[in-house]
Symmetry: C2
């Protein structure tokens, strides 16, 4: 399977879990340690670590370890391939609406 498809598989799989999405939502607000990420989830530490591993393997988060504390942060633009793939799956009727929008407001080029 091409690398691009594998990357999308991992991205979408990682996002297919509400706890992992909640961790992403938390990390949008800034970097956090494993224990900070565990706190709101009422989840055993090993589960949190496992979820973070899935997010890291998908390239959604990166981590750095200073002393005994590992800190996670979102990788910039990591979700773009997923967003772009979804953006391309538009039905003809939706494309026509896009073109109508572009016609009425030429400065927004939604088809690019």
């Amino acid at each position: 399977m091409p690398k691009y498809q594998e990357g999308l598989d991992r991205l979408f799989h990682a996002l297919g879990d509400a706890s992992r999405r909640a961790m992403v939502e938390r990390l949008v607000r800034g970097p956090a340690s494993v224990s900070e990420l565990a706190r709101p989830f009422d989840m055993a530490m090993p589960s949190v670590v496992q979820h973070l591993g899935v997010l890291e393997a998908a390239g959604i988060v990166v981590s750095t370890k200073v002393g005994r504390v590992r800190t996670y942060q979102l990788a910039p633009n990591a979700l773009n391939p997923a967003a772009e793939w979804i953006g391309r799956q538009r039905l003809p009727a939706e494309r026509r609406l896009d073109r109508l929008g572009a016609f009425l407001d030429p400065s927004t080029d939604k088809e690019k």
Copy 2:
């Protein structure tokens, strides 16, 4: 788990497989029967039916049966919740770039 989160789980899970994404890409071009969908994939019919079942449970495709032929088509706007969730996960630096873009071109309201 709230219904919204369950829906996102199913959407992202369904998209986490290259064969299912290829079926979505095919259906963007128009409705297709199971055998039409099976043809390009070199995949056993039961596997195709199973993938279509996952896509249908996620609300991404709908099917109608006329006589012995079941035809699948994309459900309009079915991917919107996934696209919108991804769109909200933007780092502060990315938001600042959005605001800069909106400042330079006020007609594109990317933050809405």
